[in-house]
Symmetry: C2
Subunit: 105 residues, 2 copies
């Protein structure tokens, strides 16, 4: 389980993922524009990590100037419902009465 969480840790990974969900394929520079606050170093670092984890797919077109696109693998796409489960858990926070108990024996 810790390993699973490690796959998603990193300040930009989720943001990148949400841009790529739904089969979107984006160029490096598109991601840069879509996520203005990220630096090139961080963007590539997180993309590379997710690539080596098998979540993200890197598509190189040998051109000059270079063209590289990023998309999700099938497995990466399959993450979507699992993240939804977490989101709906989070959404139930207010709904569930806060368990305030202080026995104070």
């Amino acid at each position: 389980m810790e390993n699973v969480l490690k796959l998603l840790e990193g300040r930009w990974k989720l943001i990148i993922l949400f841009h790529l969900f739904g089969g979107n394929v984006m160029r490096f520079s598109e991601l840069e524009r879509a996520i203005p606050a990220v630096s090139q170093k961080m963007l590539i670092q997180q993309l590379r990590q997710m690539e080596s984890d098998g979540i993200v797919r890197r598509i190189v077109h040998h051109q000059v100037p270079p063209k590289v696109e990023y998309g999700l693998t099938d497995w990466g796409q399959a993450l979507c419902p699992a993240l939804d489960a977490l989101l709906s858990w989070a959404a139930r926070r207010e709904e569930m009465a806060p368990t305030t108990s202080l026995p104070d024996t």
Copy 2:
């Protein structure tokens, strides 16, 4: 979503959670023994964070020597299936053919 992940970040939180799932209530010292690698500082830090996030419940018995127990809130318990979703996603890693594509235009 980033906020949701933040709730679970921290080297010991998941380990603590898994000890507490199923309605388990444990004393501070029990958790220490159950997780030998954790230091007191880290244990209390992560417990406190999860407590203020509403995941963990702290039960103080006013005795000498002190007795403090930790359990999950209802909302904390509800995390279990969401984590299961992540786990089963991870389990499908091998099963799903690794999408190896390199168009190389």
